[in-house]
């Protein structure tokens, strides 16, 4: 009676590891896409089908036969924390199904050789198994603890996946769904959001058990301080010592109440976010919460009342945004055919698969691992057909905190707001959901709105205002 039906979406993904913690904070950090100088425009959109894409040349490479190109998915499917990672594989599968229905690529089908469950602690072992035993051309990763990163880097396996781990930073054969994360880089998005909402008393809460969470909280504080004059907002409550797994935030909320906080942003997982929201409800303070986590319709509907009015930051163009990009419609169609749920992690899988496909297309019929890696590393504007902030792989492998050049040109976010148990897309202008800033300049500015559907590094996108 269980099985597939189990995978029904209930709540979003949790980014927490047992006991000790890793807390990842994506939306809140200034992670960004880049657009830069001259670059080869990428191939067209999905669906393959171009003349040479059908050409089947015999290739001697791991995971490639005359009829298929095999990949392995490594995900933290079961973990003691309740995260839902199997959907990531569903998303990859849905994309592959779509490509295969259209004849595959280079006369070959894309197949998932194996979905490996790293059970949180065994990521390294599973990745080593994927390398040694699966005969897989590429590896897709959505893991809480990406301890096998080094093996993938040294084996030079093209690696795709969900960018929530610091391990993605560095190796040039890693192509996660966003450019290298910057933990603790200040940005303009949060101050802008507060200003837009007319909020001036800011509260920031982070975990003390995680270095990443602490960095994130510091970055957020710095962001507000940097633009205090322009936004009139000040940080009146700051706590980066919350214990992981805490079930009581009443002291923090009481102090926020005292300080008159009207806008709070956290660097915690959505469990603690919920605890915080409940406590604020309980103590009866009216605060808008900015949530880097929790982009999940059923999580929101289940906790409709406590989350009402909060802003959630999806890492891709929100499902709720209208008009939907064409690829979103394809996603919904194929994820349905796969028998899976259209949830955040499924979309992450879809985007990862899309990028892999892009690499194959660029590498040409005589592709191999190195050619795919080299081809993707020449891409300066990958947007997964408008789903994500453009990535420039000529520079975005490196840690932006250490190397400012590795920053993208744009720092963007798109928002949904909880309203009556549902999420609605907000702030979009002219159908352009992405609120973007120049990531390289510290100067305060008004945002530019983007839709990345027709974006190219040459500047062909529809600029907003």
């Amino acid at each position: 009676m269980r099985g597939a039906a189990r995978n029904r979406a209930r709540r979003g993904v949790r980014l927490i590891a047992a006991g000790a913690v890793l807390t990842l904070v994506l939306g809140a950090c200034g992670n960004s896409g880049d657009d830069d100088t001259d670059a080869a425009p990428s191939e067209g959109t999905t669906g393959g089908g171009g003349g040479d894409l059908d050409e089947n040349v015999p290739i001697d490479e791991v995971g490639v036969t005359d009829s298929e190109i095999r990949v392995t998915v490594v995900a933290s499917v079961t973990n003691p924390l309740g995260g839902r990672y199997k959907e990531f594989a569903d998303g990859v599968q849905a994309y592959f199904d779509m490509v295969n229905a259209d004849g595959g690529i280079y006369g070959r089908e894309l197949t998932i050789a194996k979905v490996r469950d790293d059970q949180l602690a065994n990521n390294q072992a599973e990745i080593q198994a994927a390398i040694a035993e699966d005969d897989a051309f590429a590896v897709f990763v959505a893991a809480l603890l990406f301890t096998g990163a080094n093996d993938l880097a040294t084996e030079r396996v093209p690696t795709f996946g969900w960018n929530i781990n610091p391990e993605w930073i560095g190796p040039d054969n890693f192509f996660p769904n966003s450019g290298a994360l910057c933990f603790g880089c200040p940005g303009k998005i949060l101050p802008w959001l507060a200003k837009e909402l007319g909020k001036t008393k800011i509260g920031i809460v982070g975990y003390g058990t995680s270095a990443q969470s602490k960095l994130c909280a510091e970055g957020n504080r710095e962001s507000f301080e940097l633009y205090a004059d322009e936004t009139g907002a000040e940080v009146v409550f700051y706590d980066d010592t919350v214990s992981f797994g805490v079930t009581d935030l009443s002291a923090q909320v009481a102090q926020m109440k005292e300080a008159g906080v009207d806008f709070v942003t956290t660097c915690m997982d959505q469990n603690a976010v919920l605890t915080l929201a409940e406590e604020m409800d309980k103590q009866g303070i009216d605060v808008v919460q900015h949530m880097p986590q929790g982009y999940d319709a059923s999580y929101v509907s289940e906790n409709a009342e406590v989350l009402e009015g909060n802003y959630i930051v999806p890492q891709f163009t929100a499902f709720e945004h209208e008009p939907q990009p064409e690829t979103m419609q394809q996603f919904l169609e194929w994820i349905d055919k796969t028998g899976a749920e259209p949830v955040e992690l499924a979309m992450q899988g879809w985007i990862a698969a899309r990028q892999f496909h892009e690499g194959l297309k660029l590498a040409g019929p005589e592709f191999d691992r190195e050619k795919v890696i080299a081809a993707l590393n020449g891409v300066t504007d990958f947007t997964a057909d408008g789903m994500i902030v453009p990535i420039d792989w000529t520079r975005q492998h490196e840690d932006p905190a250490e190397n400012p050049d590795a920053r993208g040109a744009l720092s963007c976010a798109n928002f949904v707001q909880v309203s009556g148990g549902e999420m609605v897309s907000v702030f979009a202008e002219d159908g352009k959901p992405w609120v973007c800033f120049d990531a390289r300049s510290e100067e305060w500015e008004e945002p530019t709105f983007y839709s990345f559907v027709d974006y190219s590094a040459d500047g062909g996108s529809g600029e907003g205002e």
Binding site: R2, A5, R8, R10, R11, A17, A18, G19, A20, L22, N79, L81, G82, R84, Q119, L120, A121, N123, Q124, A125, Q128, A129, I131, A132, L145, F146, T147, A149, N150, P166, E167, G184, G208, T209, S210, A211, Q212, L215, Y238, D239, T241, S243, F244, G245, T247, D248, S250, A251, Q252, A254, Q255, Q270, N271, T275, E278, K282, G284, E302, N303, D399
Partner: protein, 686 residues
């Protein structure tokens, strides 16, 4: 002042949550003499069952009342009854450490059993608890409580009142305590100790069930880990109550919560109190209470005056094997070992090479448990923290100071030894479970406070750790590194054997046998224990250093994946169930820890099952690893040498008898055993 008052009031609901768990702890300890670390696991079982019956949106959707009735009133006491019948009844006169190990085994095994039996999904979300509309908030002026809070408060106060009355005024309560003090004496007084024991377990398990379903709404998803986290926090309150006073446990829980409220409210953000003491509060309190509360230390002296009436614990299966058989087994072991070594070096692919390398490294780490548990008879739950100290030191020294990685590893081991030695000094006077708790407190402190520090865990970035080179040899190659790890294992194993057969080992044997007698012949127990602790920590540190080299990049994620607190329990359980007395046991435990799930559960057993079953079995649940080793560990009291070791000796003895029979051509009686005229009171294993 007003702020203080409001901090106290705000701390109340959370305090009651701690108190509920602490009271459950004290209740179990009072009525069974077991420091039941598996309390959280028991609570989880009821909560999971309740979730299945009621909350699960695709489950049976029973109404609250029947679901609560089945999961709390029926299932929980039933579990207690089964635990008593199957386990604790036979452990009544066992040492506290043996009981603790049993509860560790349950802690590891029970949730996995529940997950398999109840077919729990990997994620069990549900905020709806046993209280209808538990989130509904009631306001009292500035303060607010929701229904869940109110019910928790009422239940815990009621429980303290009712249970206190039970112990004070009823014959049953008196009997329960008497059975714990001395089951034999109680029987002399005409009380059926077994029946009282069963009732005790049913009662405390019922209480665990109540806590389980009541606290479920605190967690956004249901997991055994959540309860474990809560339990380790609440332990401080239980220990504060001397493990005996229910009202003090209540007050302790409240105090813990109120003090953390105050700590979050007053000191500035960057202060030591806020950054370090606050998050570590429960563990600092636990450690402090253990070290400074004299009544706890006295308690350990109390043993059943009639314990000697029971037959002495079964001796380790005697070594009555002939020289030939002994040599035979050695040769067999050597052949198997060398066979694997050869296979790994020549045939195995990179995956299996890595797994065997890991197994070898874990064998090194587990040698540290051989020293601490096998030789001193103590349980340490912070071995992963020592390993982490080794690993982080290695990584830090290499990245920051460009030090040779082997030298860094040695320094890491020394640092771990120093930490172990310093830790053992205040904990010296503690024996058995209190020492185990002190180590648990340290492990939690390390995890919650130290790991995130940049000078420990490297912050959010990763540290590159190279493989070593020694003179002309470069161990950068994976196979060469495997050889290096094997060499380290051989060296460490040999050293442990030397120590066990040498002065330290003999003294420790003596100390375990009788501390007073050991002191009476001139052995310094304090120095000996510090030595053992430091040695054990050093070995774990060496293993940790090897893990850092094996990983090549090391950071917080690696800590979480390998050295988190829960692993401390798992390691102890695995080593104890396989054999903590011998280096051989540590090696087998290392192999089992890494290879058992991969080889047996994922490959061998499915293959075997697929031969007979009509449907296809892909893999067996990996939870079985925890279940099997957990169940292996609960026999610790009976087979302190390890149940696997016990089985091995028994079968070797059977082989020996078979050889004897072949040799003599006649059925031989088993070798004589001296029937003790008066058996010696053996005292407790300390």
């Amino acid at each position: 002042m007003e702020e203080l008052v409001s901090a106290v009031i705000r701390g109340f609901p959370q305090g009651c949550v701690y108190a509920l768990v602490a009271v459950g702890f004290v209740l179990t300890y009072k009525t069974s003499g077991v420091f039941n670390l598996a309390f959280g696991a028991q609570a989880f079982v009821s909560a999971a069952l309740y979730w299945r019956l009621h909350t699960d949106p695709e489950g049976w959707q029973w109404p609250i009342v029947p679901a609560a009735f089945v999961s709390v009133v029926i299932a929980a006491p039933l579990l207690g009854f089964v635990l008593d019948r199957a386990l604790y009844r036979h452990l009544r006169t066992a040492s506290p450490v043996a009981k603790l190990v049993t509860s560790l085994g349950l802690l590891v095994a029970l949730p996995e059993i529940a997950k398999i039996v109840l077919d729990m999904p990997p994620q069990a979300y549900g905020t709806e608890g046993i209280v209808p509309d538990g989130r509904v908030v009631y306001r009292f002026g500035d303060y607010a409580l929701n229904r869940d809070d109110i019910v928790t408060i009422v239940v815990v106060i009621l429980a303290v009142a009712v249970l206190s009355a039970l112990f004070r005024f009823t014959a049953l309560g008196l009997r329960m305590r008497a059975v714990v003090e001395s089951p034999r004496m109680t029987e002399l007084a005409g009380v059926n100790a077994d029946r009282v024991g069963s009732i005790s377990w049913m009662l405390s398990s019922f209480f665990a069930g109540v806590a389980g379903v009541l606290l479920a709404p605190l967690f956004p998803y249901l997991g055994a880990d959540q309860y474990f986290q809560l339990v380790v926090t609440a332990v401080a309150a239980a220990v504060l109550a001397g493990l005996s006073s229910l009202p003090v446990a209540l007050v302790g829980g409240l105090a813990l919560s109120v003090v953390s409220q105050v700590m979050v409210t007053y000191p500035p953000q960057d202060s030591f109190v806020r950054q370090v003491l606050g998050p570590a509060l429960p563990f600092v309190v636990l450690f402090g209470v253990l070290v400074f509360m004299p009544s706890l230390q006295r308690r350990r002296e109390a043993t059943d005056p009639l314990a000697g009436v029971d037959p002495p614990p079964p001796a380790l299966a005697a070594d009555e094997r002939s020289r030939a058989l002994t040599i035979g087994t050695y040769v067999f072991g050597a052949v198997v070992g060398l066979g694997f070594f050869w296979w790994v070096l020549t045939v195995a692919n990179s995956y299996w090479l890595a797994r065997f390398t890991e197994a070898v490294i874990y064998a090194v780490i587990f040698c540290s448990i051989t020293v601490i548990t096998g030789m001193t008879g103590q349980v340490s739950l912070c071995q992963p923290a020592f390993a982490a100290i080794g690993a982080f030191t290695t990584a830090q020294l290499v990245t920051r100071y460009d030090m040779s990685v082997l030298a860094a590893m040695v320094i890491g081991a020394l640092l771990a030894a120093l930490t172990g030695g310093l830790l053992s000094i205040p904990a010296l006077r503690l024996g058995g479970i209190f020492l185990a708790l002190a180590t648990l407190a340290f492990a939690l402190f390390f995890e919650r406070v130290l790991v995130k520090e940049e000078w420990v865990g490297g912050g959010a970035s990763l540290m590159d750790v190279p493989r070593p080179t020694i003179g002309p040899w470069d161990f950068g190659d994976d196979r060469a590194f495997f050889v290096l790890c094997t060499v380290v294992l051989v060296v460490v194993g040999t050293l442990v054997i030397f120590v066990r057969g040498g002065t330290t080992g003999r003294y420790l044997d003596a100390l375990r046998g009788s501390e007073v007698a050991a002191a009476a012949i001139g052995i310094n127990p304090a120095r000996l224990r510090i030595t053992a602790f430091a040695l054990s920590a050093a070995i774990a540190g060496v293993g940790g250093g090897l893990i850092a080299m094996f990983s090549e990049r090391f950071g917080q994620a690696n800590y979480d994946a390998r050295f988190s607190v829960f692993f401390g329990l798992v390691w102890t359980v695995i080593v104890v169930s396989i054999g903590s007395r011998t280096v051989e046991g540590a090696i087998q435990a290392g192999a089992a820890f890494i290879l058992f799930p991969l080889v047996i559960l994922q490959r061998f057993l499915p293959w075997l099952l697929n031969l007979v079953l009509p449907w296809h079995v892909e893999s067996l649940p990996t939870g079985l690893t925890f279940i099997l080793f957990g169940l292996g560990a609960i026999t610790y009291a009976k087979h302190p040498e390890g149940s696997v070791e016990f089985g091995k000796r028994r079968s070797l003895n059977a082989v020996q008898r078979w050889i004897d029979r072949l040799g003599r051509g006649s059925v031989d009686t088993p070798p004589d055993t001296v029937e003790p005229a008066v058996s010696l009171p053996t005292g407790s294993e300390r």
